[in-house]
């Protein structure tokens, strides 16, 4: 399989998965580029297509989580610089811009709110929830991607759903 074939087979999978983590088209595009650069470097190490697809999923998840961590660091740095240069007018990194091309305009506000809470979940729960609830992967597939047992995946998804439900239910009183 040539690199271009690998790209055309997996580009939408990678792009959509990155979108579920970042909820931003530009950020997802950056991640897609990073993922396929890594694929280009290591494509010779993978013989079977199934193994390659699982690996592409893993690398997309890792790159997305790394991207979000880097963004968080930049946000913190932006806050620190704003303390010292109050009137500098520099771009702040705390602007959460929801730009998900897979979300219809009328659902945008409510789905952005759900993603706001999904983003607060621990990484493993977030990944399990995204793969199961949004990407509609089977438990066995998620187990393969996350390198966990099916039982562990089931438990992660369950906990993620419970945590999310708690956050989605508004405070009484």
């Amino acid at each position: 399989m040539t690199f271009e074939e690998i790209y055309h087979t997996n580009k939408n999978t990678v792009y959509n998965l990155a979108l579920q983590y970042t909820q931003n088209a530009e950020d997802a595009s950056e991640i897609v580029q990073d993922v396929f650069l890594a694929v280009h470097k290591s494509q010779d190490n993978f013989r079977g297509e199934a193994q390659l697809t699982t690996w592409i999923y893993r690398i997309t998840i890792n790159k997305s989580l790394d991207f979000l961590k880097a963004k968080k660091r930049m946000k913190r740095f932006g806050f620190m610089t704003s303390l010292f240069y109050e009137k500098s007018g520099e771009i702040k990194y705390d602007q959460q811009h929801f730009n998900h091309p897979g979300v219809q305009l009328e659902d945008q506000e409510r789905i952005a709110r759900i993603f706001h809470f999904i983003n607060q979940l621990p990484d493993a729960q977030k990944t399990a929830l995204i793969l199961s609830k949004i990407e509609h992967k089977s438990q066995a597939e998620i187990a393969g991607i996350m390198n966990l047992s099916a039982k562990a995946v089931e438990s992660l998804v369950q906990r993620a759903k419970q945590n999310l439900a708690k956050k989605l239910i508004p405070d009484e009183g």
Partner: protein, 89 residues
């Protein structure tokens, strides 16, 4: 005051549709791959540099070895009398 959120809100995630990756991405990826190849020095270039350094070091070692003279004083090498006493001449 917060609006009550229906329990079915989580089901809204089912309404997310798959999006198509932008067409320009492959061009950008290929560009980045080409750039990384250019940045990486070719093995031939690295071998040439390595061999050049080895040659320079070898030539220097040979030059130092050849420059070692036997331990003779300047007076002896010029066949001069090495004593300051002129009376017993």
């Amino acid at each position: 005051m917060k609006q009550p959120i229906p329990k079915t809100d989580m089901d809204l995630l089912d309404k997310i549709r798959p999006a198509d990756a932008p067409d320009f991405l492959l061009t950008r990826i290929m560009q980045r791959i080409e750039n990384s190849v250019i940045e990486k020095a070719s093995p031939r270039f690295l071998w040439t540099i390595g061999i050049s350094f080895a040659l320079i070091i070898a030539v220097n070692i040979i030059a130092v070895m050849n420059s070692r003279q036997p331990d003779t004083s300047i007076a002896e090498s010029m066949k001069l009398y090495p004593d300051n006493n002129l009376y017993n001449e």
